[in-house]
């Protein structure tokens, strides 16, 4: 945790023209972890991608934060199933080759 690079939330707020309160709502719902250090609020640099995804879903598709949480969970499941499917296909290919 200590080695992770942090990005000041304020910087992102300026860049995306959003309020700090948006980040607090995200934290409350458990979509994002905020780090508070020396009176500044930060987000881990590798979580910026997740944050940007949240922002896109929110602004481009008008999904509310609870909906985004649901989407994240479902997308994760889809990804797991895709990996499983690829594995099953590989096995099936092997069986077919045997016949």
């Amino acid at each position: 945790m200590e080695n992770q690079k942090l990005v000041l939330v304020e910087t992102l707020c300026v860049h995306y023209e959003i309020e700090t309160s948006f980040f607090e709502s995200l934290e409350e719902i458990g979509l994002i972890v905020l780090v508070r250090e020396n009176e500044g609020i930060y987000i881990s640099e590798e979580k910026v991608t997740d944050f940007e995804k949240v922002l896109r879903l929110h602004e481009e598709l008008n999904v509310n934060l609870e909906g985004i949480d649901v989407i994240f969970n479902l997308v994760k499941k889809v990804e797991e199933l895709q990996i499983e499917l690829a594995l099953v296909k590989q096995r099936l290919g092997y069986l077919n080759k045997e016949i």
Partner: protein, 301 residues
């Protein structure tokens, strides 16, 4: 390059009102948005198509132009000029823009669109808002043979003109994606660079079947060796091995050679197993003499 029916793309009649266009676009965007369709090229393509349709139909000026000249775009007054512009602005190959991103690059529009409305810089991009702080993630595919990744495989990739050294660790799975942090597009306003994702596609160039860390191979055994036992020389992935065949070996018998499988990903020195299955081949075209001997065998049983 063909005419594109943007009304059809959004499932609308040419008489559709601006509200109907907006509604249709939003509905399709919810369905095909890349953030809700992980690793799905088909929906990525669809999403680009509906965005393009929306760029044209939601903008009154563009829509008028499209309705008027759309089908005769080839005769458009400034077609030639724009063709030349387009050629000039055509970009590089290599890794494509990642699916996880927004922020369209020029190449996200069809040739038809660009010849009609010009390249990316034509000024009706939605807003400056979607310039990302973190740089765009890039995704690339790397095609290797199975044999390549039996050992660590150093590789120099050319991503949009940048040479990137990577080592693909032995034992990587087919379809596995590796992330190279910070090697995507540069960020904006001091933001971090995007990441590079490399999806490994393995082609099996061997007669082993790989399942996880184990390798499987079928071995044909003639009837007599199966019945009487004997020795057999066979290939493993990295050399030959002499197998002892037990007398009365049955069809489909499986033999496990421990540690002769594929290397375990990122666990140096660890290997899976090689699993051999025996398929017994029966003799054909028996001679009279052989037939007699088989009859004798039969009566003995």
């Amino acid at each position: 390059m063909d005419f594109i029916d943007y009304y059809k793309t959004l499932g609308l009649a040419q008489t559709a009102s601006p509200e109907e266009i907006k509604k249709a676009y939003r509905k399709l965007a919810r369905k095909y948005h890349p953030d809700v369709n992980p690793d799905n090229k088909e929906s990525e393509r669809k999403f680009k198509e509906i965005n393009e349709a929306n760029e044209v139909l939601s903008n009154p000026e563009n829509r008028t132009k499209y309705d008027k000249y759309g089908k005769d775009w080839k005769h458009g007054e400034d077609y030639e000029r724009q063709q030349q512009n387009r050629r000039r602005s055509q970009g590089q190959g290599g890794a494509r823009q990642g699916s996880s991103g927004q922020g369209f690059s020029d190449s996200d529009f069809s040739e038809y669109f660009e010849s009609m409305f010009g390249g990316g810089g034509s000024g009706f991009r939605q807003s400056g808002r979607n310039v990302k702080y973190k740089g765009q993630d890039l995704t690339a595919e790397l095609h290797l043979n199975l044999r390549d990744v039996y050992e660590d495989f150093p590789q120099v990739l050319d991503v949009n003109g940048n040479k990137i050294r990577v080592t693909i660790a032995a034992g990587i799975e087919n379809g596995q994606t590796i992330k190279i942090p910070g090697k995507g597009s540069p960020g904006a306003n001091g933001g971090p660079n995007g990441d590079l994702y490399i999806k490994i596609q393995l082609k099996n160039d061997t007669d082993f079947n790989r399942m996880g860390n184990n390798l499987h191979k079928n071995i044909e055994l003639d009837l007599y060796t199966a019945m009487l036992g004997g020795e057999l020389l066979t290939d493993t992935f990295d050399g030959k091995v002499k197998l002892k065949i037990a007398p009365e070996t049955q069809n489909d018998t499986k033999v496990k050679l421990k540690g002769k499988g594929f290397p375990v990903y990122k666990k140096k020195g660890e290997f899976g197993d090689l699993i051999l299955s025996y398929t017994i081949t029966l003799p054909k075209n028996l001679t009279e003499k052989e037939k007699e001997l088989f009859i004798e065998l039969k009566t003995l049983r």
